[in-house]
């Protein structure tokens, strides 16, 4: 047993929904509705997370200790809104996933069978 953080690889890959939520939280704490907005904005409306799914996922992520409720909030915001932020574990999971995806993209680019053409876009 060491204090060195364990690898997060066994937690990957993430579901697309979870990845997008974690990404939206990467810049700082947000409340649920703001995550919804952010995800939709970043993906140009291609990915949408709806309320029931959102809060269900948030509670699951909370249970996994990837996110936690945050005290930081803008002073002008609604008192009742709860903000969540990434935990250190959450950050590591997110960067682990991003690294995994990068590796896949690198692999794809290096592949000679795949030229950056219409075919690649379709894939």
């Amino acid at each position: 047993m060491s204090d060195r953080p364990r690898s997060v690889d066994h937690l990957l890959p993430l579901k697309p929904k979870v990845l997008h939520i974690l990404l939206a939280l990467a810049d700082g704490p947000r409340h649920g509705y703001s995550i919804m907005q952010e995800v939709a904005a970043r993906t140009d409306g291609q990915v949408r997370v709806w309320p029931a799914a959102m809060y269900g996922t948030l509670r699951e992520l909370e249970a996994l200790e990837w996110i936690e409720e945050s005290d930081k909030r803008p002073s002008d915001d609604d008192e009742r809104r709860r903000y969540v932020a990434l935990t250190p574990l959450g950050k590591r999971v997110l960067s682990g996933e991003v690294r995994r995806l990068e590796a896949i993209v690198d692999l794809a680019r290096a592949s000679r069978a795949l030229r950056p053409s219409a075919k690649a876009e379709r894939a």
Binding site: G32, Y33, R48, A52, A53, M54
Partner: protein
């Protein structure tokens, strides 16, 4: 996974709600389509995204719809059929009547226990006394329905006209749809339909919605006139569509002044007390129970009897709630058919349950694994609950949709003479019934069989073969199949009895030849044919003109036809000369007018004497023909021909000589018994409305048009209608029997198939499960035939247990069946024996394939796995 099934945080719920509202607001701003898309996305999100058990069930339904959908459709179909029949039962028996405070309405009968006449229509004189002296009713009314002829622009039609006494519309408390009903003044002195009197005050009537509709539904008709029974009537109003008193056929109501109708020399005491024929309904005073009202009426009846012993001695009164009264005639048949359908539903339910048990057993390992990896007992139960709930919802939906669609067909198939059929509809009660039944069958068929007890079976379930759960499951399935067989026995016996009873009804000899007999009804204008000579001349020419047609053997006419419900039948007192009885010993007979050749045309033979001839005219001596029933009761074994009988009819009591005795006929259908009858030559009492019968050499339907056309050649203005055949009339008297027989037989057949499938499925499953055991048996020397015998014996044991269960069920329902059966006892041995034989054959057939499969098991390959 920790949050599996956990209750949602209330703060989450609040935020979810706020977010959803905000999303909807934004979407609304972007347009209607965006809004709709968002709405559905949110709905799906709520169902699918919550991790809720129901959503899980829904998702698994979408992924693997097999079991849930099949079962729901099957159950939905059964529930729909049961609900359709329930809708009939509901309308005819259960539903409150469509009148204000319907529980206050009672039908009033006169009853005489000592003479075994328990339900006589009250007499006019007694009703008058009740109206003026009884303190039990808010209002009391009497009516009499007669068949009238309505003449419109395109021909004429028979309609049911109801002459009603003062208080009729107050008793039923219904306001007219258009115009008004009668004022108290209008009940006085107006002519009634049957009176035939002309002149005096203008006749008035109120139309039914149906008749008004068929006359063009013109609001201006109110205030105008219609031409009925030979004269013009002023239309005062139109009743709403659901006002059907006494039944849905009632086409018009006219005021009836009984004092006016019964006066003059014939009725020196006013309305008679000994002609018991009216229909009487009263509205009880609020808060008065039918029982205490009966008590009060009995006291009044006793007082009237003391005042008028000649007519009223021993006569008392009986009150029956109107709702009960209306459902009385069709109650048994409907309940039988409904019960049969319910049995069939039970069978389907049992098969589904059996399927669910088998499925559970086969999933035992999957469930055991889920236990083993830590899923709680509650999780699995909850998942099953959710699946069952989903199944119930789909079942209910299927049932409600199918029921709504099939109600029209049900009404069309139901016997037309069931009362209140027009009230059948998918009301709240029917829909709740469907939902409750759907819930019930899902609980019995899916929920209960799928519930597991404890996790004690984990270890054995994980072992190969899973013997414990399978044994337990197949014991339950065997019990279910035995119950199925029991229910099938009840259904089959019911179908057998009804079929035999119906065959018996059809075999009953009505007393005359019903084949090749065309009937039509003529109702000439009373204004055009006022004098007796005119009427005789008209009918003479009509009969002659039809007689000339090729294919016609003979023609005659009569006032009231056997098997027919239309026309006037008179019930009059008669006695031997010099032996006028005291009032309560008065004997009455049905009196009918017939033309010469009526009995030979009908094919009803004379026992002695002669038929009427052309010589029995207006000026000839008055003669009658009586039937054997009457002859026996008056003259015992002596020949009545040549003797004289006093008949109290038109113009008061007068002597008439018996010239012939005719054999008894069952005038009111095969179930009816012959009653005393007196026939008068039509020429001596030229009644205006007659039924013409035509004995044909060819198919009577082929002559229907020409015969009608021929009658119209005599006087094109005089209506000829209700053209039909005697066979059809006879058939119509057995409508309810046929309805019960057909449907119970249909359900019994379906039940037999269901039970057989159940037996087959059980045996096939058992053989498959016991493959290894059988292989071991065979390996140590059992022959294939002994293995097959094992399977067959199991099925026969099931059949035996089922038959015993069925016998118990039969004892329970035989009381209900007895009242509808004709000429056969509920324990008819032939029916019982046939049922057992059919059942054994079916069970053996069902076990044949599994038995063969068992016998062909190859011990070596079966044990290798």
């Amino acid at each position: 996974m920790k949050s599996f099934g956990a209750g949602r945080d209330p703060r989450d719920a609040r935020e979810m709600k706020e977010d959803a509202e905000r999303l909807l607001d934004e979407a609304r701003a972007r347009g209607r389509i965006e809004f709709a898309v968002t709405w559905f996305a949110l709905l799906w999100d709520l169902i699918a995204g919550t991790g809720h058990d129901l959503a899980r069930a829904l998702r698994s339904l979408v992924r693997a719809p097999g079991f849930t959908v099949t079962v729901s459709l099957l159950l939905g179909l059964g529930v729909a059929a049961t609900t359709t029949l329930f809708a009939l039962v509901n309308a005819v028996i259960l539903k409150p009547l469509p009148y204000a405070n319907p529980e206050q309405l009672v039908m009033v009968w006169e009853s005489n226990v000592s003479r075994e006449r328990l339900r006589e229509g009250p007499s006019p004189g007694n009703v008058e006394d009740w109206v003026s002296h009884s303190d039990a009713f808010e209002a009391l009314t009497a009516w009499w329905t007669t068949s009238a002829t309505l003449r419109g622009r395109d021909g004429s039609a028979p309609v049911a006209g109801v002459q009603v006494t003062k208080g009729f519309f107050e008793v039923f408390r219904r306001a007219p749809l258009l115009g008004r009903t009668f004022t108290d003044q209008e009940y006085l002195g107006r002519p009634s339909i049957a009176s035939g009197r002309t002149g005096g005050q203008e006749p008035v009537l109120v139309l039914s919605h149906r008749l008004w509709h068929s006359l063009g539904a013109d609001p201006a008709l109110v205030g105008g006139t219609v031409f009925v029974e030979g004269r013009n009537w002023r239309v005062l109003g139109v009743m709403p569509a659901d006002f059907a008193v006494p039944d849905v056929d009632a086409a018009l109501w006219t005021p009836w002044d009984m004092r006016e109708a019964y006066r003059g020399a014939r009725f020196p005491d006013g309305p008679p007390r000994d002609f018991r024929f009216l229909r009487v309904v009263g509205r009880l005073k609020p808060g008065l129970s039918p029982e205490s009202a009966t008590d009060r009426m009995k006291i009044l009846a006793a007082r009237i009897a003391a005042d008028h012993p000649r007519t009223n001695a021993d006569w008392s009164v009986q009150l029956v709630p109107l709702r009960e009264e209306l459902g009385r005639s069709s109650r048994t048949g409907l309940l039988l058919v409904f019960g049969a359908m319910f049995c069939l539903l039970l069978l389907v339910c049992a098969n589904v349950a059996s399927l669910a048990i088998a499925r559970r057993a086969s999933r035992a390992r999957e469930i055991a694994i889920r236990f083993a990896i830590g899923a709680g007992q509650t999780h699995i139960v909850r998942a099953h609950l959710a699946e069952s709930a989903l199944c119930a919802v789909i079942t209910a939906l299927v049932a409600i949709v199918l029921t709504t669609g099939s109600l029209g067909a049900a009404i069309a198939f139901a016997p037309a003479d069931i009362p209140r059929l027009h009230e059948v509809g998918p009301d709240a009660r029917v829909v709740s019934f469907a939902m409750a039944l759907a819930l019930l069958v899902t609980i019995v068929g899916v929920l209960l069989p799928g519930l597991r007890r404890s996790s004690a079976t984990i270890a054995p379930a994980l072992k190969d073969g899973a013997p414990v759960s399978v044994k337990q499951a197949s014991r339950m399935r065997r019990a279910l199949v035995a119950v199925e067989i029991g229910v099938t026995v009840v259904l089959l016996v019911g179908a057998g009895l009804l079929t035999r009873s119906f065959a018996g009804l059809q075999r009953v000899d009505p007393g005359f030849d019903t084949q090749n007999l065309l009937v039509l009804r003529l109702a000439p204008d009373v204004t055009r044919y006022q004098r007796n000579e005119q009427r005789n001349d008209y009918y003479g020419r009509v009969l002659n003109s039809i007689r000339e047609l090729p294919g016609v053997r003979s023609v005659a006419a009569v006032t009231f036809l056997p098997m027919s419900t239309i026309g006037q039948d008179f019930y009059r007192p008669y006695w031997l000369e010099g032996a006028r009885p005291d009032g309560f010993a008065v004997t009455q007979a049905n009196v009918r007018m017939a033309t010469p050749g009526y009995f030979s045309t009908l094919g009803l033979p004379l026992a002695s004497g002669r038929e009427f001839s052309a010589q029995d005219g207006l000026d000839a001596p008055r003669v009658i023909i009586i039937n054997e029933s009457l002859a026996r009761s008056v003259w015992k074994d002596q020949d009545p021909v040549g003797r004289t009988l006093i008949l109290d009819y038109q113009g008061g009591p007068s002597p008439r000589q018996v010239v012939g005795v005719v054999r008894d006929a069952r005038y009111r259908g095969p179930r009816s018994n012959p009653a005393p009858e007196i026939f008068i030559p039509h020429a001596q009492n030229p009644y205006l409305v007659m039924n013409v019968i035509v004995r044909t050499k060819v198919d009577p339907d082929a002559l229907a048009r020409t015969a009608r056309a021929q009658a119209l050649t005599v006087d094109a203005d005089q209506p000829v209608h209700s053209v039909t055949t005697m066979e059809r009339l006879l058939d119509d008297t057995m409508q309810q029997d046929r309805f019960a027989m057909r449907f119970v037989a249909l359900f019994a057949a379906a039940g037999l198939v269901t039970a057989t499938t159940g037996v087959y499925a059980l045996l096939a499953y058992t053989v498959a499960q016991r493959k290894r055991e059988i292989a071991v048996r065979m390996a140590i020397g059992a022959s294939s035939s002994s293995v097959a015998r094992l399977v067959v014996m199991e099925s026969l044991t099931l059949a035996l247990v089922g038959c015993v269960a069925g016998a118990l069920g039969l004892v329970a329902v035989s009381g209900l069946a007895r009242s509808i059966l004709f000429g056969i006892a509920p324990h008819d041995p032939l029916t019982l024996a046939t049922t057992v034989a059919v059942l054994l054959a079916a069970v053996l057939a069902a076990s044949w394939l599994p038995a063969r499969r068992a016998a062909r098991i190859n011990p070596v390959s079966a044990m290798r796995i």
